[in-house]
């Protein structure tokens, strides 16, 4: 094995074997495509997203579990060792997580799509078990961590939220199966809070403290400010959860919104500083997506405030759902189009004196098409909500599907080039 090969595959290295993160990212790319496809073929009746069983809920979970969750599992497994200065978590365990989680998402989505509780139960079990195992793996990893306390605080908080996501999901599934469970009126808001804002949001915020300074070549933001942002976001989440569990208590919602928003604003300020002071100013198309995601996050906070304040904004829930999707999808796809060629170039260098560059592994035309379709799809969905038009919804979903196909072409191209470049 070459010296680089030893690094890439060796236990002392901090890189997982290429096949591990790439399989998580590949599954995320496939589910991205599938989510738009489900929305496209069912968008005539997709507009009233009321949380009930059916294609819209299936498409939503293909995005949340299939795209965001899948990317989070792979990215955290690869990036946390960098932050914690430790060897990555167990490779075999991660492989097992992928093998169970990936079909689990499909079965769960199928159960939701066809409104069949037994399939939902089966899929939920196949999703929850690996997620719980991943939680334990990452928690064990974090226990011995050194360095980057800001990232670690976000990771711990995200894990705590993931546990709550699993518990609330379990109880929601129990309800669908007709088993005794608390009412959906408190479970669903909790699930919607700790899923996107808690687990995925906190992980996205935390991993941004590694990725944004890395790509912008900036000094990482001060740890204290990272921690302050984390504390505020977590306080916001706790207060919001309390407001769901004790709806009569005054001031909980305004306090939750103020704390969460301040935490997010602090995070965005740190990101802006990193970009402004970074050695790399031209970060290309991927950061257009990342910046659009940050804008969508701000919009989501405003919309959450509007919803809680009771201001009469038509379709406020649908707007909020779209803003959340735009936030998380922009983050995931923006970072993925940078990470994939970077990681592939790193692995392709194994055993070679002059390995390929990241740009030689990417597919610019596919990414150009993807970003155009991504923004067009979001704009069309916004129009669909505003006008209550199923036609625009379907048009938006098909445009998103075209973008997802382009992104899949990019992913396959990276894989092909990586295979060809390897000795």
């Amino acid at each position: 094995m070459s010296t680089a090969g030893a690094f890439l595959g060796g236990a002392s290295g901090r890189l997982l074997p290429a096949s591990l993160p790439l399989r998580f990212f590949g599954a995320a790319v496939a589910y991205h495509l599938l989510a738009w496809l489900v929305l496209a073929v069912s968008s005539r009746d997709a507009l009233p997203l009321d949380g009930g069983l059916g294609p819209p809920l299936a498409a939503l979970h293909l995005l949340t579990l299939g795209v965001f969750g899948m990317t989070a599992l792979g990215a955290a497994a690869q990036l946390l060792p960098v932050a914690t200065r430790q060897a990555p978590v167990g490779e075999h365990a991660l492989r097992a997580v992928w093998w169970l989680y990936t079909p689990g998402v499909a079965v769960l989505a199928w159960g939701m799509h066809s409104a069949r509780p037994p399939w939902i139960a089966l899929g939920a079990a196949a999703v929850m078990l690996p997620l719980a195992a991943w939680t334990v793996l990452v928690a064990r990893h974090l226990v011995g961590a050194r360095g980057m306390p800001g990232v670690l605080a976000h990771a711990w908080s995200a894990l705590a939220c993931l546990v709550l996501v699993l518990v609330t999901a379990l109880l929601l599934v129990a309800g669908w199966l007709g088993w005794p469970a608390p009412g959906r009126q408190s479970l669903l808001p909790l699930h919607l809070l700790v899923g996107p804002f808690g687990f995925m949001g906190l992980l996205a915020l935390g991993l941004s403290y590694i990725l944004v300074p890395m790509f912008a070549l900036a000094v990482p933001p001060p740890e204290r400010t990272q921690l302050a942002s984390c504390v505020l976001v977590v306080a916001g989440l706790l207060l919001a959860a309390a407001s769901v569990l004790a709806p009569g208590v005054p001031l909980l919602q305004p306090l939750a919104w103020s704390a969460g928003s301040t935490g997010v604003l602090l995070h965005l300020y740190l990101m802006r500083q990193a970009l402004a002071t970074g050695m790399r100013q031209d970060l290309g198309r991927s950061f257009v997506l990342v910046k659009s995601a940050w804008a969508a996050l701000l919009l989501a906070l405003v919309l959450a405030g509007v919803l809680w304040s009771g201001l009469p904004l038509p379709h406020a829930r649908a707007w909020l759902a779209l803003a959340l999707v735009a936030w998380l999808l922009g983050m995931v796809l923006g970072f993925l189009q940078r990470i994939l060629p970077f990681l592939a170039a790193l692995h392709a260098a194994a055993g070679r004196r002059r390995g390929p560059t990241a740009s030689s592994l990417t597919h610019e035309r596919a990414l150009r098409l993807h970003i155009a379709c991504h923004f067009a799809a979001l704009a069309l969905l916004a129009l669909a909500i505003g006008l209550g038009s199923a036609t625009f919804a379907q048009l938006g979903a098909f445009t998103g599907l075209a973008g997802a196909c382009a992104f899949a072409v990019f992913y396959l191209h990276v894989l092909r080039r990586l295979r060809a470049a390897r000795p």
Partner: protein, 160 residues
Amino acid sequence: MITTQVGRMLDEEHRSNLELLERVERAVGRAPESTPDLAALLGRFAHAMEHDIDRHFRFEEEVLFPRLAEAGDGAMAALLAEEHQAIRDVTEEMLPLVQDMAEGRGDEESWDRLRLAALELVERQVAHIQKETMALLPLLEDLLDAETDGQLALDYAATA
């Protein structure tokens, strides 16, 4: 946060190098042909790569990477050293082309080759700095005690 003196010095050099790399990337990326200004910029770039970067690379290879290897991260040190070698290879390819341009001997084909080599060099150097900033510089805190850090920083400054 980089806490060692050596880490800060290397980071400072990365920063000034990247400034030059960005200028080269912008200028070369859009230029259909060589101009005297461009040739001068590439000459400065090649000089920086040949001398300044070589000094920086040698320090890392002779002083830091062995310590990294001793601490159990030899594979990382080897990867970074391989990247140094790749950057040196591209620089070697580039130097005669820059020389040709500076002396007015370049044609369209050699300009294309020079442009591609310059862009490849920029990309390799940027990716390499990204890895060092992410992985090597924070580790120096574990590798160097305060006394060694101060001594190495003085030694390195003396080679400038």
